[in-house]
């Protein structure tokens, strides 16, 4: 049977099924006369790395259509945020892209600072850059090593996971937690880098490049790996833009859009770094772009660490920045501000602001509308995963099931960010 026949046949089946099912949950069609099989991939399949479901129509090994279902871990963050003071929204942002929580935290802090008109001191901005780039490396490391696992190469994953563990140790020294970091405050960082944190960071900067080189040498020109990923799930630049792709997935398609370069925030204009781009947007390009971004992030971290300015690590914004705990016990003003901030008694100015940062997966935007109360009137998260995951059926159709898994993991769809 020709592929075109099959596709037309599938469309017909879908139309008939849609007419018949009247709002039933999902089509369950095993039409053996057409030799098509319905395959339920997910929601909790170990190969999908997260909770999302795809109902695939298969013609043998080929996928002829796919219907994604999302929302399995929807937690209504936008609704919850309407009841919370700004500082309580930071933990919500942690849980979006939990592979790179610090970027989400900083993006949110910067949004609020833009609304309040608070300028953060240079040192805090550089500290934020260091943490954000560490988060980007951790994020890309997970994505690329998992892609290796999905193609059958487990070693690389175990190898770089040790490095991710070291990054998490640095997080731990800086903010006290590892995965959902709740790092920084509106107005700066909650504490300065400790000597231990700086030492860990310097040590890691020394050891990591060798590991990364070895990881790359295992994959980049590996015949078996390339056979699995080259020309798998390509997407053209026009289509990627039309689908709202951002981040490494868009750059792999050849568009050099990077929020850090186009709308620099947190002093990114001070650093020198390249924006790697791919050519045909396939899985291999996405892999290589992420690898190269890891090197660029390392460059940024080194520059930021070398030129880390002296000075305060937070803005002088007592209405929004929590005072040091020791002060709260001794100092009247600190006690008052502590109380007012914690009880959410400080009203934000009226206004609306859109701020975006380059997250692990692309443009992570925060659209905040404040009506002058203690909480946002409306907060909308532009979540890159949610926006580009809708292209997945189109990319997967025509490939085999094993390729579909590889495409999914190379897109780095994080369920928390997808569902918010």
């Amino acid at each position: 049977m020709a592929v075109n026949d099959t596709l037309e046949g599938t469309h017909k089946i879908h139309e008939e099924a849609a007419a018949q099912r009247h709002g039933q949950l999902m089509p369950l069609l095993n039409d053996f006369s057409q030799e098509l099989t319905t395959l339920n991939l997910g929601p909790t399949h170990p190969a999908t790395h997260g909770i999302f479901q795809n109902i695939l129509q298969m013609d043998g090994e080929r996928i002829v259509s796919g219907v994604p279902t999302i929302g399995y871990i929807h937690r209504a963050f936008e609704k919850i945020a309407e009841r919370r003071p700004f500082y309580q929204i930071t933990p919500l942002t942690d849980r979006m892209n939990y592979c790179s929580s610090p970027i989400n935290n900083m993006g949110w802090h910067m949004t609020v600072e833009k609304l309040l008109g608070v300028t953060v001191p240079k040192r805090a901005q550089y500290m934020r850059v260091i943490m954000m780039e560490l988060a980007r490396i951790a994020d890309h490391l997970i994505c690329n090593s998992i892609l290796g696992v999905d193609t059958g190469a487990f070693t690389g994953f175990l190898y770089v996971f040790q490095e991710r563990e070291k990054i998490y140790e640095i997080y731990e020294e800086v903010c006290g937690s590892r995965l959902t970091t709740n790092m920084g405050r509106v107005g700066g960082m909650e504490r300065d880098f400790s000597p231990v944190a700086l030492q860990k960071l310097r040590d890691w900067l020394k050891t990591f490049p060798a590991v990364m080189k070895e990881f790359e040498s295992m994959f980049n020109r590996n015949r078996i790996f390339m056979d699995r990923v080259v020309n798998v799930g390509p997407i053209s630049a026009e289509k990627a833009l039309n689908y709202g792709f951002t981040g490494p997935n868009l750059r792999a398609a050849g568009v050099d859009y990077d929020v850090r370069a186009m709308n620099p925030y947190s002093s990114y204009e001070d650093f020198e770094f390249d924006i790697p781009v791919g050519t045909n947007g396939d899985t291999y390009d996405r892999f290589i772009v992420r690898n190269e971004e890891i090197w660029q992030s390392l460059r940024i971290i080194k520059q930021a660490l070398e030129n880390l300015p002296e000075g305060p690590y937070h803005a002088d914004a007592p209405h929004y920045y929590l005072p040091a705990k020791q002060e709260v016990y001794k100092n009247m003003e600190a006690l008052i501000y502590h109380f007012k901030i914690i009880m959410g008694e400080i009203d934000a100015p009226v206004g609306e602001v859109y701020h975006s940062v380059e997250g692990g997966n692309g443009e992570l935007g925060f659209y905040l509308i404040s009506d002058g109360g203690r909480t946002p009137y409306r907060l909308h998260f532009r979540r890159p995963c949610f926006i580009y995951y809708q292209a997945y059926p189109e990319m997967a159709v025509g490939t085999t099931l094993s390729d579909a898994i590889v495409i999914l993991s190379s897109m780095n769809v994080i369920a928390g960010e997808l569902d918010a």
Binding site: G71, L115, Y257, Q390
Partner: protein, 186 residues
């Protein structure tokens, strides 16, 4: 004060601020393409040009901006619904963020309409990415997008019978008394 002076005084710094110049350019383009009467409430909160228009024109405007060769608003960054229950006849709204990647200009377009007739033309024929964004707005706010190929709930369960982001549904049960805070008035 002389009214002419007060009108002229803020103009002098306006010409120097590059963001204001850019926004004036975009606004002039909007007026040229779609007429001045189409846009109300022109604002620039934090440097991002924001215009309000009507739902009858929104599809034409976004299609026209996508076709436009001067500024090239090719990228639909995001869209979201909003609910202002106190605005009689204009309770619901949709907010679109467009981005010109070639010239790095952002534009925000708002439309408002009645909650009893929440019908808006779809953008899925222009942007593939509008598909899920509109499903999300439908799911949360009950905005009906005419012409959408598959307007069903996306994040919430399918048998939910209300649109939870509307302000009429409080996050917590308003009848509960154990959480009343007498001292801070919430």
């Amino acid at each position: 004060m002389n009214p002419q002076e007060s009108a002229a005084a803020p103009e002098a710094p306006v010409a120097e601020d590059p963001i204001k110049v850019q926004n004036a350019r975009v606004l002039a383009l909007l007026h040229k393409l779609f007429g001045e009467a189409t846009f109300t409430d022109v604002e620039e909160p934090h440097g991002l040009l924001t215009v309000t228009t009507t739902r009858e024109r929104i599809h034409d405007i976004i299609a026209g901006l996508q076709q436009d060769q001067e500024i090239k608003f090719h990228f639909l960054t995001t869209m979201c619904g909003i609910n202002y229950p106190e605005n009689e006849g204009q309770e619901l709204g949709m907010i679109y963020h467009l981005h010109s990647l070639t010239q790095n200009i952002r534009l925000r377009i708002k439309i408002f309409f009645s909650i009893t007739d929440p019908v808006v033309p779809t953008l899925t024929d222009l942007y593939a990415t509008a598909n899920w964004m509109e499903r999300e707005a439908y799911d949360f706010f009950g905005v009906i997008f005419t012409g959408h190929p598959n307007l069903i709930r996306i994040l919430n369960v399918e048998d939910m019978d209300y649109h939870p982001m509307r302000r009429e549904y409080p996050l917590e049960d308003g009848t509960r008394e154990d959480k009343t805070d007498l001292f801070f008035g919430r």
